[in-house]
């Protein structure tokens, strides 16, 4: 499929259009919001638990911080966590899967045994243990930890794809032209997995954002900065739901659901567009 | 006697968001009782679509845009799909597709596939009656009845194809449409399958067969009449040997001379090359569809669509043979 056709196919898919619009909207809000609303999210000098008003469109939290400012900062840092973790997991997954498939033999068996071991590990539990080892945790450290525990399924799929693609005739043609396996992997095989990799990336990002929220919720997330996960942590420790501080917990929940759902929609729609077997009719 | 099946000026198109494929463009054809009609053509000429139209197995994106499909005088194109399923398919007209693997449910034993198939048409039969019917037919056709207890994947390619044919003809349909039934098989298996088809016809289990293929040598072994298709149209129809040994349409002539069978006559003849490629059916050409590649084409061929000319027992669509414009 050529490029203009790809774009028109994607734009004709309702799930893709919905998913990408919501995601871009959240992204733009996160990127531009703090510039248009330059309130310090960590400034605690405002009155506590104030409902929305003209000065504070989403009110303030229990300790007197501006909720909108927090949310705007949180969106950006959560997306940053997701993106960073996604890149790390993608890099490890593709590398391990590709090397296993291309080298075969002992290398393959060893790498796959390792992959399966990581896959079978209770990831969240391990994350909690590792996180507990560090007293202070930067956003980058948490992203890195999420990244290095979420690649195994990707490695397995990449390996499978590589194994089937390497028997394709065009790979033989490249071998006959004297190409080596490294260049064949990079220029023949990976491009043919591009949509799959894009899908996986969307899912990895969504998963990482939720995972950050999960471990932050129990207090083992980043110890500095404002992420959606940390906002949830404060919501929970201050009993915001019971206290009826809806302006605090409701927008945060909506935003995190919107991010995760939109990314999953994008991933599903990519599968539908490029995997015609799933198309209805 | 009226023909068994009659196609009357049929146009069938695949209509999608990305455009329309003009797969069958004005085909009129009669299939008489007691004949085996071979329809030959290259890939993408619309012959498989024609097979679907013949039994009115037409559902979106395929549409019958114009024309009538008459089975013994009944207009199939006016019947709703559920009536076709209940009363026509399997009972009057049956199809054997190219890849039987997709047609046979892999999770069911052959005898259960047969039971479900028969019960669509004859719900009053009980299982034992159906099984004994199947056993009798398998024995009659010389097929191993042990195949009834196997799953489709346990059968060899040739056996699978023969089982599919036996199932398709179990209710003695008058017309059997075989769409490239042997293309995926090796020559020896192909011959066994062709023999089975011939036997069904010899014994009168089916009255007529439409055999669709790209391989003229196969048609030569089994058919009584032949129709040559090009770019969604029939270009020549006539008795088998007349068409093969004295083709009148330039395309038939070139198609036949491009066949390479291991025979001294063929080797002596030399290789004939047809320049160009068949037209894209998304944008079918005006005039004669073969004009672009035809060595004898004139301006008229490129401009006007040829009308059918009857020469003896043959029908030819070609200006050179006197096919005038409408």
């Amino acid at each position: 499929m050529r490029f203009p056709r790809i774009v028109s196919e994607l734009l004709a898919n309702k799930k893709f259009v919905t998913g990408i619009s919501v995601f871009l909207a959240v992204l733009i809000i996160g990127a531009v919001g703090p510039l248009l609303y330059p309130v310090d999210p960590e400034d605690m000098s405002f009155p506590s638990s104030m409902p929305p008003c003209p000065e504070h469109p989403l009110g303030t939290d229990y300790v007197g911080r501006d909720v909108l400012a927090q949310l705007l900062r949180g969106i950006l840092s959560s997306l940053y966590v997701g993106f960073l973790a996604g890149v790390v997991a993608l890099a490890i997954g593709v590398l391990v899967g590709a090397v296993a498939a291309m080298r075969g033999g002992v290398v393959d068996e060893g790498l796959m045994a390792f992959t399966n071991a990581v896959l079978l590990m209770p990831t969240t539990l391990v994350l909690i243990l590792i996180a507990a080892l560090f007293k202070t945790r930067s956003i980058e450290l948490v992203a890195l930890l999420i990244g290095i525990t979420s690649w195994p399924w990707l490695a397995r799929v990449v390996r499978g794809e590589f194994l089937s693609l390497k028997e394709r005739d065009f790979v033989y043609m490249s071998l006959l032209a004297g190409d080596r396996w490294l260049s064949i992997s990079l220029f023949d095989l990976l491009p043919n997995m591009a949509t799959y990799i894009a899908m996986s990336f969307a899912e990895l990002v969504a998963g990482a954002i939720l995972q950050e929220a999960g471990i932050s919720f129990i207090g083992l997330g980043p110890t500095e900065g404002v992420t959606l996960g940390r906002i949830f942590f404060w919501i929970q420790t201050n009993n915001a739901v019971i206290r009826g501080l809806w302006w605090w917990w409701l927008p945060t929940t909506v935003v995190i659901v919107a991010i995760a759902a939109s990314l999953v929609l994008v991933s599903i729609s990519l599968d539908e567009v490029f995997n015609p077997r799933l198309r209805g009719g | 006697m009226p023909p068994l099946l009659k196609l009357d000026d049929v146009y069938a198109q695949y209509i999608t968001r990305y455009g329309t494929v003009y797969a069958v463009n004005g085909v009129s054809l009669e299939i008489g009782e007691g004949e085996i009609l071979g329809i030959v053509g290259e890939s993408g000429c619309g012959k498989s679509t024609l097979a679907r139209v013949m039994m009115m197995n037409v559902k979106p994106p395929l549409h019958l845009v114009r024309g009538r499909v008459l089975l013994q005088g009944v207009e199939l194109n006016r019947l709703p799909r559920d009536r076709l399923k209940r009363e026509v398919w399997g009972k009057q007209v049956s199809l054997v597709p190219q890849s039987v693997m997709n047609a046979l449910n892999p999770t069911m034993r052959v005898r259960d596939i047969i039971r479900d198939f028969v019960k669509v048409h004859n719900p009053e039969l009980d299982d034992d009656e159906v099984y004994s019917m199947a056993r009798d037919r398998f024995e009659e056709l010389g097929l191993d009845i042990r195949a009834l207890d196997l799953y489709p994947f346990e059968l060899s390619g040739g056996m699978r194809q023969r089982v599919a044919i036996a199932i398709a003809t179990l209710l003695n349909p008058k017309l059997l449409i075989a769409d490239e039934p042997t293309s995926a098989l090796d020559v020896s298996t192909q011959k066994v399958v062709l023999k089975l088809l011939k036997r069904l016809w010899n014994e009168g289990i089916v009255k007529s067969i439409v055999f669709i293929t790209h391989d003229i040598a196969v048609v030569r072994q089994i058919a009584t009449r032949i129709a040559v298709m090009y770019a969604g149209k029939i270009v020549e129809v006539g008795p088998l040997e007349e068409v093969i040994f004295k083709p009148l349409h330039p395309y038939t002539e070139l198609l036949i001379s491009s066949i390479l069978t291991p025979e001294p006559e063929v080797k002596k003849r030399g290789l004939v090359e047809i320049r160009g490629a068949p037209p894209d059916l998304r944008t079918p050409p005006r005039g004669c569809p073969f004009a672009e590649r035809c060595p004898y084409a004139t301006d008229r061929c490129r401009r006007e669509e040829p009308r059918p000319v009857v020469i003896g027992s043959r029908l030819i669509y070609c200006h050179l043979r006197g096919g005038g414009a409408a």
């Binding site: 071998l175 | 090796d186 069978t261």
Partner: protein, 272 residues
């Protein structure tokens, strides 16, 4: 005894065993003790049905699949043991080229047709500049009957099956190989497009002195193009002979059955 000149390619006692299955390891003998030679300026056909081991044989000769035992000697050098350095491998790629069955699958759909030629440039002399190289590409395309200006810059899906197969042949010719392994090069093409490709192969033998191993399931094609026919059945070579001889008086029972089961144009089966 007269010393015969060494043939271009000598295949000796070639075998390939595939082991399949994870728990119940099953051996599949794809190729069993196959020996034959290919001389210079000769088209040799390897005929067999699917699963007969003909494609595996081709892949071993092309150095795409390792043999379990046996040797492939090209100009006296053992292709699997004597080629050690990168230079040796590139020498072999220059000398022996292949054309695959599927003109659709042989192109990576991501790239323009030009890429298959560019990939071959590393096999051309190092002192050649790009202009000379593209000049050779144009020459090769013209030789296979294609218009370079029409083909170059296009994506594979914009070309017909016949055009793509010609591009594959032009690609192989670019390095002026001595031996071309053509694995079912016309089986996916319609009859009217086949003859052009077959004619081209015969022309290359006659004009360039190219040797060709023509692999096919279709005895008719083999009968037409080859100087010699090898018949393969279940991994073994069962018969070898001149086309006319082989068709008129096959000796091995498999060949006999094969030939009697081929539908012909001028003779009708009596037993149907």
């Amino acid at each position: 005894m007269v010393e015969l000149p060494e043939p271009l390619l000598r295949v000796e006692n070639l075998s390939k065993v595939f082991v399949v299955g994870l728990f119940t390891r099953r051996r599949i003998d794809a190729v069993k003790g196959v020996s034959f030679t290919i001389g210079r300026r000769e088209i040799v056909s390897l005929v067999g049905e699917s699963g007969s081991g003909k494609t595996t044989t081709a892949k071993i000769i092309l150095r795409l699949e390792k043999p379990t035992s046996g040797r492939v000697l090209f100009e006296g050098r053992d292709v699997w043991r004597d080629l050690r350095s990168r230079e040796d491998i590139l020498w072999y790629r220059r000398s022996v080229q292949g054309v695959m069955q599927d003109p659709y699958g042989a192109f990576n759909p991501f790239y323009r047709v030009d890429r298959v030629f560019k990939q071959m440039f590393k096999l051309l002399p190092k002192d050649m500049d790009d202009e000379e190289r593209w000049g050779l590409v144009e020459k090769a395309l013209i030789e296979v009957g294609l218009n370079p200006r029409y083909v170059l810059g296009k994506y594979p899906h914009e070309l017909s099956g016949g055009e793509r197969q010609r591009v594959m042949i032009a690609r192989a010719l670019l390095v002026e190989p001595k031996l071309l392994i053509a694995d079912e090069p016309v089986s996916m093409l319609d009859a009217t497009l086949r003859s052009g490709i077959l004619k081209l192969l015969m022309k290359l033998r006659d004009e360039r002195g190219l040797s060709i191993l023509f692999i096919t399931h279709d005895m008719g094609l083999a009968y037409y193009v080859s100087d010699r026919i090898l018949v393969m059945y279940r991994g073994e070579l069962v018969e070898e002979g001149h086309p006319d001889e082989l068709i008129e008086s096959p000796r091995h029972p498999y060949t006999k059955r094969l030939i009697s089961d081929i539908p012909l144009l001028y003779r009708k089966w009596s037993d149907i």
